[in-house]
C-alpha cells in the first residue's frame, strides 16, 4: 500500500521495528482468491533463504508453475473440491484452476499484508508513492479458497488445515459468512485450532455497516478488524450551472470533460423503471441520457457498473449520489467515464438544483490525490458494527485499521473495476472494504510476532488492542462517517491500530486454550460442543461458577438487565464483576489505574488501583465491579479503563448495554 505505512507511523525515526532477519522468518498465510505472482510486490530481492520451518508447496496448475513462487511468495495452493462438488467442474475459460488470482482481491490482500516495496506505484497516477506491505520482509503463502461462486467452508477448512501444517505464523482471512454458534462455525473452529498452535488469525469484521449487530467472525480467539479511512482523498469537483461547486471523489483517468457545462439529469427521471434512480443495467432511456451528466443513487448494483450503464446509454458523466445509508462516506472507484461520488448532503443539494432549475447543467473535474485530510481516521460507514450477537459479553470488532481507498497489488486478469468490459490492466488498484483493513492488521501482527517470537496470538492481539487509539488530539472519539457523529466501541472496538506502540505495549492480556474452555463452560457448552471446537475432552465442573466476564479479554462488554428483566425493577441495581490478569512484557514498573466514564448510571470499582511488576512475564490480577442502575432496554453506555506506568498506556474500552 502507499501511504498507510506513513499514516500508521511506520518508518518514522522513532519507530522501533524488529530486526529484518526476524521479520523474514515470519510467514503470513492469506486465504483468498489466490495470487498474481508476476507483480513487483512479490519481488524477492534481498530476501534470504525460505524459513526452514516452511513445509508448504507451490502448486502447479493452469498458468501457474513452481517457478511462480520465490523467496517472497513461498507458497501457493488452491482448494476447489467443495466448490466443484456444488457447482460442477471449474470452467477454465472463466477462472484458473490453480492458485492464480483471476479476481484481484487476493493479490490486494496478500500485498497489503506483506508485499515487497515498489517505488512509483499508483493507479493511473492516483495515490502515487512507494507501495509496501505492512511486514515488507515477511513471507507470503497464498491459499486460494474463493472462486466465482464464493468461498466454500469445506475448501476453507482444508486450506486452514494446510496452512497450519505448512507452518504459517499468521492467517489472514478477508472473508465472512453468517453468524452461528462457535461449534457450528467452520472458520471459528479452524481459527481455534490455529490459535491453539500459536498462529494468529486475523479476519475482516464485515461490510454490513452502519447497521448495528452486523459483525461476522466474532469468536474471541479471532482478531476481528473493522475499517477506517486514511488522511487521503481523491477529489473530483462538481460545478453546477448555478455557480455552486462541490467536492466528491473519483479515480477516473480518461479524457476529461470540457470546462463547458453539460445538461444534468436525475436517473430516476430518465428511466422507465421504478428503480431507474439506481442506474441498473437496461433501465436508462438512451435518448434522454445522451450527451448529459446523470445523477445515479448509490445502492444495489456496483458503483462502477452504474457508470458503465450511464456510458453505454450515451451519458457523458455521472454523479454518484450517496443516500442516507452511506452518509458522507466517499469510496473511490476507477470509473469508466468522468464521475464524482458525493456525500448525502452534497447529493441532496445537487438534486435540489436538478429538480428546481428548468435547464440544470454541470461539469466534473478531477483533483488528483490530496493528502492531510482531516479529521482522520474516520470510521467507514460500511464497517460492520457491534454488538456481538453471538456473545454480547465479548466486545467486537477488536479494532479498526485502514480500509478505505487502499492501493495495493492487483491481478493482470481483470481491470481495476472488475467489470468484464474494463480492458485496462494495472499492477495496483485502489479498493475499499474490511477486506483491506484485515491484512493491514495481519501484517502488523507479523511485525509483532517477529519482535516477540514467544508471544501467544492472544498476547499479540492484546498489544494491538490496548495500544489502539479511539480519540483525536482534541479528545473527541473517532467520527463515524455514516452519521458525522462520534463513534463508539461498538463501532471501533479498542480503536485504531497504532503499530509503533503495539511493539512495546508494556502489559498484555494473555489467554490460553484453557481460558477459552472456561469461556465455553460459561456459555453452558456441552462436552461434545467443546470437543468440536477445542478437540479436547473436557467436562465443565458443575460445582464451579464460570463467568463470561472472566475471559481474559483486552476489552470489556457488560450486558445489563433492564427493569423488566430478571431480578430487575425500577431503581434496582445489578452488580457484575469481571476479572482480568495482566502480564508484564516490559521492564519492572508500577502501573496506576485511570478510569473515564460517560455512563453515570454505572459505578465502576477497580481493585487494586495499582499494579507493581518486578520482573518480566509476572502476572497480576485485578477485578472490576460494575454496579448499574436499571435503564431502558436498548440503552448503551461507554467507559474507558487505562493502566499506565508513565511510559506505556494499556487501554481497554468498556461497553454497557441494557437488554
Amino acid at each position: 500500500t502507499t501511504h498507510s505505512p506513513e499514516f500508521l507511523g511506520l518508518g518514522k525515526s522513532d519507530a522501533v521495528p524488529p530486526a529484518s532477519a526476524s521479520i523474514s522468518e515470519v510467514i503470513v498465510g492469506v486465504l483468498d482468491t489466490g495470487v498474481w505472482p508476476e507483480i513487483k510486490s512479490f519481488d524477492d530481492t534481498g530476501l534470504g533463504p525460505i524459513p526452514s520451518t516452511w513445509k508448504g508447496t507451490c502448486e502447479v496448475g493452469k498458468n501457474f508453475n513452481s517457478s511462480s513462487c520465490n523467496r517472497k511468495l513461498i507458497g501457493a495452493q488452491y482448494f476447489s473440491k467443495g466448490y466443484e462438488a456444488a457447482f460442477g467442474p471449474i470452467d477454465e475459460t472463466m477462472e484458473s484452476k490453480s492458485p492464480r488470482d483471476d479476481d484481484g482481491h487476493g493479490t490486494h490482500t496478500a500485498t497489503t499484508a506483506a508485499g515487497s516495496a515498489v517505488s512509483g506505484a499508483s493507479l493511473f497516477g492516483y495515490a502515487l508513492g512507494t507501495a509496501r506491505g505492512m511486514a515488507t520482509q515477511a513471507r507470503v503463502a497464498a491459499y486460494k479458497v474463493c472462486w466465482l461462486g464464493g468461498c466454500f467452508s469445506s475448501d476453507i477448512l482444508a486450506a486452514m488445515e494446510k496452512a497450519v501444517a505448512d507452518g504459517v505464523n499468521v492467517i489472514s482471512m478477508s472473508i465472512g459468512g453468517g453468524i452461528s454458534d462457535y461449534n457450528r462455525d467452520t472458520v471459528a473452529i479452524g481459527a481455534f485450532r490455529a490459535v491453539a498452535q500459536g498462529i494468529l488469525v486475523s479476519c475482516s469484521a464485515g461490510n454490513g455497516g452502519p447497521s448495528a449487530g452486523s459483525l461476522t467472525n466474532v469468536a474471541p480467539w479471532i482478531t476481528t478488524v473493522g475499517a477506517g479511512t486514511l488522511d487521503r482523498d481523491f477529489p473530483a469537483y462538481v460545478s453546477l450551472g448555478n455557480g455552486k461547486n462541490y467536492s466528491g471523489i473519483s479515480l477516473y483517468s480518461g479524457k476529461p470533460l470540457s470546462d463547458s457545462l453539460l445538461p444534468l439529469v436525475y436517473a430516476g427521471n430518465v428511466s422507465n423503471s421504478t428503480s431507474g434512480n439506481l442506474c441498473m443495467p437496461g433501465t436508462l432511456v438512451p435518448s434522454q441520457v445522451a450527451g448529459k451528466i446523470v445523477i445515479c443513487d448509490r445502492g444495489l448494483n456496483s458503483r462502477v457498473q452504474k457508470g458503465m450503464v450511464v456510458r453505454d446509454s450515451g451519458g457523458l458523466g455521472m454523479i454518484l449520489a450517496n443516500t442516507e445509508l452511506y452518509g458522507e462516506e466517499l469510496v473511490a472507484d476507477a470509473h469508466l467515464l468522468p464521475a464524482s461520488t458525493v456525500g448525502q448532503r452534497t447529493a441532496d443539494a445537487i438534486k435540489n438544483y436538478a429538480f428546481s432549475d428548468p435547464k440544470p447543467t454541470a461539469t466534473i473535474a478531477s483533483g488528483g490525490t490530496k493528502l492531510g485530510v482531516e479529521p482522520s481516521p474516520v470510521l467507514a460507514a460500511f464497517s460492520s458494527r457491534g454488538p456481538n450477537l453471538v456473545t454480547p459479553e465479548v466486545l467486537k470488532p477488536d479494532l479498526i485499521a485502514p480500509g478505505v481507498n487502499i492501493l495495493a497489488g492487483w491481478t493482470g486478469a481483470v481491470g481495476p473495476t472488475g467489470l468484464t468490459s474494463d480492458k485496462r490492466h494495472v499492477s495496483f488498484n485502489i479498493i475499499s472494504g474490511t477486506s483491506m483493513s484485515c491484512p493491514h492488521v495481519s501484517g502488523l501482527a507479523a511485525l509483532i510476532k517477529a519482535a516477540h517470537q514467544d508471544w501467544s496470538p492472544a498476547a499479540i492481539k492484546s498489544a494491538l488492542m490496548t495500544t489502539a487509539y479511539a480519540t483525536y488530539k482534541n479528545g473527541e472519539n473517532i467520527l463515524d462517517v455514516a452519521t458525522g457523529q462520534p463513534s463508539t466501541p461498538f463501532d471501533f472496538g479498542a480503536g485504531h491500530v497504532n503499530p509503533v506502540a503495539a511493539l512495546d505495549p508494556g502489559l498484555v492480556y494473555d489467554a490460553s486454550v484453557d481460558d477459552y474452555i472456561n469461556f465455553f463452560c460459561a456459555l453452558n457448552y456441552s462436552a461434545s460442543d467443546i470437543k468440536q471446537i477445542a478437540n479436547k475432552d473436557f467436562t465443565c465442573d458443575s460445582s464451579k461458577k464460570y463467568s463470561l466476564g472472566d475471559l481474559n479479554y483486552p476489552s470489556f462488554s457488560v450486558s445489563l438487565q433492564t427493569a423488566s428483566g430478571k431480578g430487575g425493577g425500577a431503581g434496582v441495581k445489578s452488580t457484575v464483576k469481571y476479572t482480568r490478569t495482566l502480564t508484564n512484557v516490559g521492564a519492572p514498573a508500577t502501573y496506576k489505574l485511570s478510569m473515564t466514564s460517560k455512563t453515570p448510571s454505572v459505578k465502576i470499582l477497580v481493585e487494586p488501583e495499582s499494579l507493581s511488576f518486578s520482573k518480566e512475564y509476572e502476572k497480576k490480577t485485578y477485578t472490576v465491579t460494575f454496579t448499574a442502575t436499571s435503564m431502558p432496554s436498548g440503552t448503551n453506555g461507554f467507559a474507558h479503563l487505562e493502566w499506565s506506568d508513565g511510559k506505556h498506556v494499556v487501554g481497554s474500552p468498556i461497553a454497557f448495554s441494557w437488554t
Binding site: 479476481d103 461462486g149 468461498c151 477448512l157 488445515e161 497450519v164 472473508i175 457450528r184 479452524g190 461434545s528
Partner: protein, 82 residues
C-alpha cells in the same frame, strides 16, 4: 438423487475410533459407507479437526449424525469476500 445431495463437513471424535481400524481414514470411510455406498470424500481433515467432507442427502446426513463417534455433521456454508 445427485441433485438432492449437499456437502457436509463431518467432524469425528478420534477417541471413539475402534482399535480394529488400521488408521483413521479407514474409520472415516467405514462411517461414510455405512450411510452411503456412493458417497466419496472431498477432503479428509486431520490438523484442524478429525473428519472429512462429503456429499450426502439430508437423510444420509441425519443418519450419519446418529452414528457413534460422530461429533457433528455441518452443512456447507458459502462465505463471501469482504
Amino acid at each position: 438423487s445427485q441433485q438432492t445431495k449437499k456437502t457436509f463437513i463431518v467432524h469425528m471424535d478420534m477417541s471413539k475410533m475402534a482399535a480394529t481400524y488400521e488408521d483413521h481414514f479407514q474409520w472415516y470411510d467405514s462411517s461414510l459407507k455405512s450411510v452411503s455406498e456412493s458417497a466419496d470424500m472431498l477432503y479428509a481433515y486431520n490438523n484442524i479437526i478429525h473428519g472429512f467432507s462429503t456429499r450426502l442427502t439430508p437423510e444420509e446426513a441425519e443418519l450419519l449424525e446418529k452414528q457413534p463417534g460422530i461429533l457433528s455433521v455441518l452443512p456447507e456454508m458459502i462465505y463471501k469476500l469482504h
